[in-house]
Amino acid sequence: MKKIFARPRSLKDTLMHYCPGCTHGIAHRLIAEVMDELDIRERTVGVAPVGCSVFAYNYFDCDFQQAAHGRAPAVATGIKRVQPDCIVFAYQGDGDLASIGTAEIIHAAARRENITVIFINNAIYGMTGGQMAPTTLPGQATTTSPGGRDVENKGYPIRVSELMATLEGAAYVARVSLHNPAGIARARRAVLQAFRYQLEGKGFSLVEMVSTCPTNWGLSPLAALKWLEEHMLPAYPLGVFKDIQGGGQG
């Protein structure tokens, strides 16, 4: 019988700790598929953040460093500068990247660090139990915005891809979504492009993945996908925000 679907070589054969319906598993798989396709598993070094994906290193079968909260782009910078032939990627959530690590992500891109960042935006702090994130939507209830995020005193969400696209050192910035098969297929192409740009030495690449957190959103996995589509996509439009090879919004 012909095998038509299997675990990517770059993923370890182990159970994941993520909650049912969480999209981290899909994001991990896409990265692993791209590592297989580009045949870079043996030269890739990943950087795990603080957050639900702190244990990402348990799932990828490549070298990994676990970074302090928000510092993954600085850690990735150190690795890439010392081992320029390695393919270095950081995997960060919204609290990690867009709150405590805002300086590190912006300056890594501004320096034109030749690294790839996968940014999981699920509009909430997952591991700590559902607090308000920098990407939490106006009106969205969290454990630290129990009445819903009130923009009068809690401000507005940060649109990371739009922000990063303004930096000249960024070669490729795209926002994708993991809520349906078509979105996942586009996400895979974006991850492939981001790693390709690093292989070609084109500079900094970032793929923002609009993701779910059924547990902390208080929704079933299916309802969470629907909530993502109805609430997050209007706030976080999908597309390629920066492509130094001529692409743009679209």
Binding site: E42, F64, Q65, R71, A74, G78, E104
Partner: protein
């Protein structure tokens, strides 16, 4: 043997690091250590190394985490407020067992303080300003020659224990010029690092991390680290004894202050006081052994620091009540004069009935 070169302290540290095989530097501007990164920005490209001006001290130490984890000999430098920001990364590097050398050209604090020389970061350096059970070897050199030798050795010690090492200078040591000799035999050969994340080519993948969620796992990890720190206590403590054979009063001082005390010691001896000095070279591990070697004539200690009294606590622990321990300090860059130390010695002698 090379010829002596007249160098500024901050530049001598940078050159020593390069000669010790350091090939990665990340830092952020702060006075009084700016000549160090400036020198590195010129020198690193000449040896194929990496110089990075980071966006913050926090980023700089985390760049070292990555670079050290990728196998490079790494250096960062800063001054007091910047070292406070690096504490997060130092804790993580101890937890993940990553070697690096960290220079603190200490200035006045707390807060923004000033840019004058100080020794008020002793607690931060020796107790670990970061979180968790960790230790770092801390050197307190007293001359530029000693500083370059200790900086070079610091890279070996860091690699040997897979742990950060700190060198505590001060605004005077960073800014002054002295002749230094870089001995040819001090050039280090890079050692293999079979734990570095360099890409899993034909081998099992490697992971560098400081997280151990299971209580038993973290307990085991911490006791493994403690065993390493105990090795440091046994093997790395260093000190110098000055005229201790017949001493009735003992000065205890490190770094720049030890130089002032050396002059004070001679002046006090000329005035008839039998004074000696213990000069700790490692501030951690603290050279406790030096205090156990005190002669029968010894009556009291005078600890002299550019702080309101930090190392004095370690001296009291080491002396353990056997003799009185007095303190004399100046802060904020108001460096003590040798005569002021002599006056403090004479006060102590009078109180303790020494020389009568």
């Amino acid at each position: 043997m090379s010829e002596p070169i007249l160098m500024k302290g901050n530049e001598a540290i940078a050159e020593a690091a390069i000669r010790a095989g350091c090939r990665f530097f990340a830092g952020y501007p702060i006075t009084p250590q700016n000549e160090l990164p400036e020198y590195m920005s010129r020198r690193m490209p000449e040896v194929g190394g990496v110089f990075l001006q980071a966006e913050s001290e926090v980023a700089a130490i985390n760049m070292l985490y990555g670079a050290s984890g990728a196998g490079a000999r790494c250096l960062t430098s800063s001054s007091s407020p910047g070292i406070s920001l690096k504490q997060e990364g130092i804790s993580y590097m101890c937890g993940a067992e990553l070697p690096a050398v960290i220079i603190n050209i200490v200035r006045g604090g707390p807060g923004l303080g000033n840019i004058q020389p100080a020794q008020s970061d002793y607690f931060q350096a020796t107790r670990g300003g970061g979180h968790g059970d960790y230790r770092t070897v801390v050197y307190g050199p007293a001359s530029l020659q000693e500083m370059v030798e200790l900086v070079m050795e610091a890279f070996d010690v860091a690699d040997r224990y897979r742990n950060p090492v700190m060198v505590l200078g001060d605004g005077i040591l960073g800014q002054m010029m002295e002749p230094v000799v870089f001995a040819d035999d001090q050039v280090r050969e890079p050692q293999p690092k079979p734990w570095a994340t360099t890409g899993a080519r034909g081998r099992e993948r490697r992971v560098l991390s400081s997280i151990y969620l299971e209580p038993e796992d973290l307990d085991h990890h911490n006791w493994k680290l403690e065993a390493k720190y105990e090795q440091m206590r046994q093997k790395e403590a260093r000190y110098e004894l000055v005229q201790m054979e017949d001493a009735e009063l003992c000065l205890v001082a490190y770094g720049t202050t030890a130089r002032i005390c050396r002059t004070a010691l001679e002046k006090a001896r000329s005035a008839g006081l039998k004074v000696g000095m213990i000069r700790p070279i490692t501030l951690w591990p603290f050279p406790v052994k030096a205090f156990g070697e005190a002669g029968a004539n010894l009556r009291a200690y005078l600890v002299v620091e550019m702080s309101t009294g930090q190392m004095v606590e370690d001296v009291r622990l080491a002396v353990n009540g056997a003799r009185p321990v007095a303190f004399y300090g100046k802060t904020g860059g108001a460096v003590m004069l040798p005569q002021q130390v002599v006056d403090a010695l004479q006060d102590l002698a009078a109180r303790e009935g020494v020389g009568r």
